[in-house]
Symmetry: C2
Subunit: 503 residues, 2 copies
């Protein structure tokens, strides 16, 4: 382990996790590595959760995105988290958030470090960053994610490094650490393609800021996405057909444009759809690289992938890490500020594919709030990509909870993405191309193409009655949430068929 | 007039407005200059409206933003408009849109030309662009706005130029025409400050594409914003106090950061608030430059202003145009793609000040849809700035229609800007700083600081009852729109006081 610390003056900073964690005190703001369950600091947060059992204290925890190894669960259950940002995806933490016990700030993932840098958030008292090693200059080499780690370490008062000996040393050279220059003299960010390397392969921090080093060997936890099923395959099929059509119209080539895919089961399944597609020489400029990225490499479909983390299933993790030097020339991991930067996303013309919980007849999307009130995960980077992409696609199954809920509704109960930022919506039923359509026209193609047969007549009935009342975006405002109200009261959005006349 | 056409081979293209308009045929897509009532083509659209009286036809009309001289009214009433994008602000056109007679595509103002360039929209059959003149190379010199004129002219099959002899020749040299390079090899946009000049002072088009030139002398119509009043002065006061506080905290200097201000009465009044403020050496990187911009120049407060149009009251127009060469060294007009570009807005760290119709207890903003259904103007550039700015401020009076409506509501009836994009909300009652707060905390500061006394108890009552039900963003989904429903039915959001127990 100690040969991973190449700056010998740092060797005597190696301490136990408990001792390192003692730098973190009640009321502090702590920045930790970790992005969608990859590359999170592991030993120190566990030591914190353990300590809280005998000595209660609270912190504000800022990360890249969600943590693996049940850390958000352990920290939530130990009541360590007063505030949490900018993303999470843990059932126990979610429960605490929805109960109002943890104040959760749901943020566009590109923005958190801007807020820190401008002192609107912060200061970060302690940064805890997982690394494969420390360079001879004291540079921190991240592991399977970059997330916000670089800015946390640069801006923090103290830095704790967790050297994870299970993460292969071959990850060195994968990362591209670029920090935008300071306003008012900020220069353009020089990334002009997924392949652009514009920064350092390590996080530069003055070695004297490194307060403690912990040696650990706990692995990232495996991704929890489910394999593709009939519905997600149908969604992928509709999208491939649409993209093929765009190629025929001359609006895209078969190389497409850089692809982004959101987190979760559906987005991963959709990316798998490219394996059997006619498209080739693809590139990804995304956040999380899931199993599908490496399957696309192996299928000879993908040329290059840029992301902020690598989150894999257990078998895929083993295969990829064993072979990381072969994949490395075609991979870059960047700070999430850069992977998700509006400047770059717009410049590259990204095809953004994200997942909705529900969308409405006008194409507004709810990705976060079940029933308008209960937080699921958070907006994550979906807004960074949907707003600034060349093409913004949202996918979802047409129904949820065995058909008790329709994912296409009269009006979404919470808006994460307005109709302006939603070009294409796809369910297993079909795809609606909403580009350059007025709201009334959007409703028509959505109802005709995306809605489950169980709900189509009722949705069309709502739309017809709203149309009769008029407006640019017709609604029956007193009835717009009636499906959600009924679901709250009865568990189902529509009355059972024999009562459906009153739906 | 003819001395304004410096390329002599174009002299024989001069024709009447009617003849020029004859290039525009039923079913065509037409791109016209004009941005918030400034620099619109005038003679050709009037000729179109006149022709439609005897010969019915329909077009898709794309502009920069709203048109002056009642052109949107005339074209709407002549039933010429099948489709209209990306913005408008005319009462007659608004009526046709809300009746479903004109399909209106309400778009982020930075995005329209991207859609044209990628053939998602278009092609533009004819572009009609107002100019002060044509250079010896055939370059078109715009007038009081750039808007989308450059890309319209470059991408159109044919170009009609309206040379407006009332617009002073001194406008030459004011414009900075930069078009992003083509994907997949797009380069960073080199603008690094409001002062950056990165393009040409004219719109480059091959002279053979200029199909007709019309000479006109009709002036821009005067801006219709109302003067500051007690409420708008109070809003400005709260904002100045907040900014002063930010300076004290060391988060801003007294030079602040580049300012953007939205359209309309309230935004203009707020900008006037800077005249009496302690801030100095200010810059603007905005869209529309209103009277307040020139008042700030004259007060010695403003160093430089970049925008996409100049829209002034009648006396201000006369004064500024007479003196344009004096102002010119401190002014740039850019294509709206550049004035509103996410890349630049984020880079410069803009303080964005836009107007809401209503906002809700969580800080979601509705800027466009009265009662959730009736289009007012459109989202305009508010999303470009609110999403990407350093600080996103929304202002509004706390009540509308003499108090019959509250502009702070349980849930907005339409979402244009989600809570993620809203940092500060201000009414004449007070200011709420929402940064880094969870939804429950946002509600508390909004209810305590911004709501009109008439509505405060009722709003707090809603929030308390929602809180009791729980959730990350607590709502009583069955009651969330009850205020809007009551307003629709009775004209008032709350029952009169003696019935208020049941509110
Ligand atoms: C929206 C999101 C939750 C979907 O996740 P997924 O794994 O692809 O989709 P699933 O279909 O498995 O749905 C996840 C859960 O939501 C539920 N769900 C789906 N649609 C629903 C709806 N309309 N109403 C209520 N619940 C719904 C599912 O039933 C499932 O619940 P379960 O976990 O109890 O089984 C996820 O993509 C997300 O959090 N997105 C927001 C952040 C984001 O887009 N990030 C991308 C860049 S970081
Ligand atoms: C929101 C907007 C309409 C406000 O305009 P304004 O001139 O500053 O504000 P006013 O208070 O005069 O309000 C305009 C109208 O809206 C009405 N209004 C205001 N609040 C309202 C509310 N909560 N509900 C219903 N109507 C409301 C006013 O009564 C007034 O109506 P009237 O024209 O019949 O008198 C305007 O700023 C806009 O269109 N914004 C969206 C686009 C944008 O932000 N662009 C900026 C970059 S382009």
């Amino acid at each position: 382990a100690h040969d991973r610390i190449r700056l010998s003056s740092l060797l005597d900073k190696v301490v136990s996790a408990e001792e390192a964690a003692s730098h973190i005190k009640d009321g502090m703001m702590v920045g930790m590595s970790g992005f969608t369950r990859a590359g999170e600091a592991k030993a120190v947060p566990m030591a914190l959760a353990a300590r809280a059992k005998t000595e209660p204290f609270k912190i504000t925890l800022v990360t890249g995105a969600s943590l693996g190894n049940d850390l958000d669960k352990q920290l939530a259950e130990a009541h360590v988290l007063a505030r949490r940002l900018p993303f999470q995806s843990d059932p126990a933490l979610r429960k605490a958030i929805n109960a109002g016990e943890v104040m959760f700030i749901d943020q566009h993932l590109s923005e958190t470090v801007e807020h820190l840098r401008t002192h609107q958030l912060g200061p970060i008292n302690v940064a805890v960053v997982e690394a494969v090693g420390i360079t001879a200059q004291g540079g921190i080499i991240p592991t399977t994610s970059v997330g916000n780690s670089a800015s946390f370490a640069i801006l923090a008062e103290k830095v704790i490094v967790e050297i994870n000996t299970s993460q292969p040393m071959g990850l060195e050279g994968l990362h591209d650490i670029y920090i935008p220059t300071r306003r008012p003299f900020r220069e353009p960010i020089p990334v002009v393609g997924a392949e652009s390397r514009v920064g350092l392969p390590f996080i530069p921090v003055p070695p004297e800021k490194i307060a403690a080093i912990v040696i650990t060997s706990k692995l990232d936890s495996a991704s929890n996405v489910l394999p593709p099923d009939a519905e997600t395959a149908a969604i992928a099929g509709h999208l491939m057909e649409f993209l093929g059509h765009e190629v025929k119209k001359g609006r895209l080539t078969e190389r497409l444009q850089p692809l982004q895919a959101g987190i979760g089961t559906i987005a991963n399944a959709v990316m798998h759809g490219f394996i059997e597609s006619p498209f080739y020489d693809l590139t990804m400029y995304s956040e999380v690289l899931q199993d599908s990225t490496f399957d696309l490499f192996d299928a000879g479909k993908l040329n290059f992938a840029s992301g902020s983390s690598i989150t894999l299933s257990k078998p895929k993790y083993e295969q990829v890490m064993a072979d990381i030097t072969r994949y490395k020339p075609r991979l870059i991991l960047r700070p999430q500020e850069i992977s998700n930067h509006p400047e770059i996303i717009r410049r590259l013309g990204i095809i953004a594919i994200n997942t909705a919980l529900e969308f409405d007849i006008y194409g507004n999307v709810n990705s976060t709030h079940v029933g308008g009130t209960q937080m699921m995960n958070g907006i994550g980077g979906s807004g960074d990509f949907a707003r600034n992409g060349y093409l913004s696609v949202f996918v979802t199954k047409s129904i949820a909870k065995d058909g008790a809920l329709s994912s296409v509704v009269p009006m979404v109960s919470h808006v994460d993405h307005t109709e302006h930022d939603v070009d294409i919506v796809v369910t297993e039923v079909g795809l609606a191309d909403l580009r350059e359509l007025a709201p009334r026209e959007r409703a028509r193609v959505i109802i005709d193409n995306c809605v489950h047969p169980l709900y189509r007549d009722a949705l069309d009935d709502y739309f017809q009655r709203a149309l009769a009342r008029g407006g640019h975006t017709p609604h029956l405002i007193e009835e717009a949430f009636s499906w959600h109200v009924r679901a709250r009261e009865t568990g189902r959005m529509l009355a059972p068929p024999h009562l459906a006349a009153s739906a």
